[in-house]
Amino acid sequence: MNAAQVPWAAWLLFLAPVSAILIGMFVVRPLKPEWTHLPILASCAVVTVCALLLLQRVLMGGSFDLNFYRWAGVGSWGVDFGLRIDGPGVAVLSMVAVVGSLIHLYAASYMEGDPGFSRFMLVFHLFFLAMIGLLTANNYVQLYLFWELVGAASYLLIGFWYHKESARKAALKAFLTNRVGDFGFLLAILLIIDSFKITHFHLLYFLVARATAAGHAPQFLPAIGLLLIWAACAKSAQFPLYFWLPDAMEGPTPTSALMHAATMVTAGVFLLVRSWPLIAAVPGLPDLVAGIGAFTAVSSAIVAGTRKDLKRILAYSTVSHLGLMMLALGLGRVSVAIFHLIVHGFFKAALFLCAGNVGHAIHQPTANVDEVGGWRKALPWTYVFFVAASLSLAGIFPFGGFFSKDAIVDAAMERGGLFALSGLLISAGSAFYIFRMLFLTFHGERPEQKGLSAHPHESGSGLLAPVGLLALGAVVIGAARPVVETLVAGGWTALPVGIPGYAQTMNLPGSTEIPGVALKALLIGMGMAALGAAAAYALTMVDAGWDWRWRKSSPALERVFDSDFGWKTLVDWFARGVSSLADFVGRVLDKKWWDGAIEGSGRVVQAAGSLFSDAARGRLNEALWWMAAGAALLLALGAAR
């Protein structure tokens, strides 16, 4: 397999976005900034087609992994850049391409009239390119390159409306938290290089498999696994480093939809899928991943139920669902995790765009639960799509979400213990917060009845079409289960490697089959979901004032939820600690003490100089006395010898 045999679709996958960005930046932006989205939408179409073609090729066993050129290296050691089109990669790539293109379409009309329109579209598409690169990288360094590019694009997009103080703060917090995660990733890569001397995925799988089989796994393998999990937690907003995601809602809605729901945040899970052979080789790690996933999912589901801002609710919901994916991965169900990742991409993007439409209806970037209500009639289409996506999220039977969520709950029940309990809690919790959002936004009292003046109007077709397609996708995606199953299974094993010396294939850890509809899990999952929905109905429609009354009665409780059980305050305290340390080192230690001491030494010499020069009062007798004393001194020295 050499470069010539690589399908043109793979080349085009990169060529289209790069040329679109270059044309957009150097040709269209100077001439007519409002048309920047045209080359970009064209490139989205091309990318979607190529992704689906590659999907079809991989389905027929055509996956490949090829090194193109030596990026950087000295003597024998070196890092090569190349392309890896295999099952998991193409599956997620297709979802990203489809969802991404629809959101690009939505963004083209949503951002119309914004002064920074062309800047937004260009950076938005740069992110799209980075995501493609990330999914098709064939070694850790290349993955790290696109991983950081995605982080940088998210910084620029969260901080797009930079005149808002909160947006600037959120952008910086997002980038620095990602940077802390990337600290772990970089250290992991360094340790991999130290232990294995190579960074290529497939070769690593072989080396790890052989090493663990022979019983002498390298000394740093647990550390590598832990650091990779740390990096995934930062990017996929898991427990220790998730706090940046809710604030990332400051960015425009398309950004929140594409990056912070469907694609970027899943990069962490994808990294764990790519390094699963390394992590699975270390006994304790998969359970750790499952534990983190479960804990994050449960806690953020609870907090989501208490948020007032629509987009924040969805942000915590995303954190919760990412926890679910981690849980599935931790329990060994690699393909279930990928399947849920794809399904989640559709319904969460749809929900975000609906929230965007609601906000758009009242001409604000986002809406607060108190400002909306009873808009079933006012925003009919948005209401329909919102309901479809919510049902899919809650995992109600015929809708797409059910199939992936059911498989996870089934795996959790099978594992039993805490995981089973958390599976149930999540089913109930997610149903509760999504239906609470549904009722508060579209049912119940309208804002006029609550003394607010709001006259919402339905969004234009440019905004509704993409949402509709996404909602449709969210509903029917369940049918794609067997496709994902074969993709992941095929990708893992039957991989002809284009690198000499490693021709044979190998089967990798983790079960790749997705169980069908298990009756037991169906009943339990649906039961909990129904319970959650009922609770939501009771607390919003029946006892209308509940939502704000408990906040008045127990403000302490609200503070606990606001600070995510105290974790946010801990993080702020840490951030302030680091900056005060920097202030101390920079101003006091370096400028005042050390620099002062050095400049002081200059003054010491001058003082000595003036001391002596004052002594020289120029009187003749004194001079002669000193001369005599000098001569006597020499005499003494001479005689002493």
Partner: protein
């Protein structure tokens, strides 16, 4: 006049020509800078063709006291000479519209001549003469055309470096004397001096050499001249100071200090590598505390050079190649940043972070270039900053020098990489994104002109090229560092 001699003689002649050409000094400077760049490319070509393996040697006529006029050049030194010529050309363009006397242009040419001399010297006496001679033009550049308290900065710069290098001179003398005592021959030529048995004095000689080079790099305890010198120097002065003069220190360590006292260097390597790690983190922490934009970039240079030293002291081929490439990258990236701050200062005569605000709307092009250079500086992969740092850190990870069994410096280096974003992005935000403060000078700032954008486009293109395809650069630099691999 043979090729290597012309590499430093042409800029020297240029200095004289500029001094005499009065009003047309900038044109003379441009012509001589172009000539110097062409010559360095011509010299670099055979090395490129033979994948960095070649070594050009020239001269050798021995004078008195064992001193001989001999030059030598390999991949590393010619790359640094090319960088000097390139940055000198960039500075010529950047300060094209400044109303400055002919002396300004002459000083830059003289600086280029002296620095090239350092990179090409094969004879330690010649090395030292060029090393100190480079102080004089920079002293005048900072002192005459710097900003408000330039006088103190110029004097501090000169005294600091002179103190370091006079102890380096004593060390060099000690080596020459030890060599004469062993072989009875007075010689200052570096190849012959390497490997002399220095006996018990070796650690002291290493300490004195590291003092001399450490001030220039700068290594942390000896760094306090850098923020003042960079802040007060004119834009082009800071570019040359950061882009090229700091590399003289690292080049000195690679070419003179480590080969001359290999035994002591090996024994002290863990301490030196730890100091390099401290450099990286200390520089980043100090940068976070700065309120002056130029001072912040100066401290970021200290952090970057910390990585470079981690690579050098790792003793592995990747680390050394990474260090060499980082020297080139740092010259390009920090050069771009200093040019931008210089353009800002030309427009508003202010450098404080809180003096500006919302410049992204007033000067979008400046915002783009500044953002691009900041991302390259904090080591965003895909741009040149990351390549150097990654190679240095991977070298450190594979380094046989362990600190308690762990590649400890890789950890410190990674912390340094993370802190980079913590000082660079808040600075970018407070200048370009934050709202204008009450006494902000943003209204005075107008966007970059054609000339300025052209310069920055070339620099950004170079950053992207090295970021995506660094291998040809590494191939030229790596062979010349084989000697130090352990």
């Amino acid at each position: 006049m043979s090729l290597l001699t012309s590499l430093w003689a042409v800029p020297a002649l240029g200095a004289a020509a500029c001094a005499l050409s009065g009003r047309a000094a900038r044109w003379t400077a441009l012509v001589f800078s172009l000539a110097a760049l062409g010559l360095s490319m011509a010299a670099l070509r055979p090395i490129l063709v033979s994948h960095g393996a070649g070594l050009l040697v020239e001269g050798g006529a021995s004078g008195l006291f064992g001193i001989s006029y001999s030059l030598s050049a390999d991949g590393l030194s010619l790359a640094l000479v090319a960088l000097t010529a390139f940055l000198n050309l960039i500075c010529a363009f950047a300060s094209w519209e400044l109303e400055v006397p002919a002396g300004y242009w002459a000083a830059f040419q003289a600086l280029a001549a002296a620095v090239n001399g350092v990179f090409l010297a094969r004879d330690l006496f010649l090395f030292y003469v060029f090393w100190e001679a480079s102080l004089i033009p920079m002293f005048f550049i900072i002192g005459l055309w710097g900003s408000d308290n330039r006088r103190k900065a110029a004097l501090k710069f000169f005294l600091f470096t002179f103190t370091g290098s006079i102890f380096m001179l004593l060390a060099l003398l000690a080596v020459v004397i030890a060599h004469q005592r062993a072989t009875g021959v007075w010689t200052w030529s570096l190849p012959e001096l390497t490997g002399t048995d220095l006996g018990a004095g070796a650690p002291w000689i290493l300490l004195a050499l590291m003092a001399g080079f450490g001030v220039k790099v700068p290594m942390v305890p000896l760094h306090t001249w850098l923020p003042d010198a960079h802040t007060e120097a004119p834009a082009a002065g800071s570019v040359m100071l950061a882009g090229v003069m700091l590399k003289m220190g690292v080049y000195g360590i690679i070419r003179v200090a480590l080969p001359l006292v290999p035994g002591a260097a090996a024994a002290w390597m863990p301490i030196l590598a730890l100091l390099a790690g401290v450099n990286a983190v200390y520089g980043a922490l100090c940068a976070m505390a700065q309120t002056d934009l130029k001072r912040l970039i100066a401290y970021s240079s200290i952090a970057h050079l910390g990585f470079c030293l981690i690579g050098v002291f790792s003793g592995t081929a990747q680390g050394l190649a990474g260090a060499a490439l980082l020297m080139i990258n740092h010259g390009v990236t920090t050069g771009a940043l200093f040019l931008l701050v210089g353009f800002l200062y030309e427009r508003a005569h202010r450098r404080g972070l809180s003096d500006f605000g919302a410049l992204a709307t007033r000067a979008p092009r400046m915002a783009f270039f500044f953002g691009f250079s900041i991302l390259a500086s904090i080591g965003l992969p895909g741009l040149n900053g990351f390549v150097g740092e990654f190679m240095c850190l991977s070298g450190a990870a594979q380094s046989p020098i362990l600190f308690g069994g762990l590649p400890f410096y890789a950890l410190i280096g990674a912390i340094g990489v993370t802190l980079a974003a913590a000082y660079a992005l808040p600075a970018f935000q407070s200048v370009f994104w934050a709202a204008e403060g009450p006494n902000s000078v943003s209204p005075k700032v107008f966007d970059l002109g054609g000339r300025e954008s052209a310069i920055l486009w070339t620099l950004c293109a170079l950053m992207l090229w090295i970021g995506l395809a660094p291998q040809p650069w590494l191939a030229t630099l790596a062979p010349s560092l084989q000697g130090l691999v352990r």
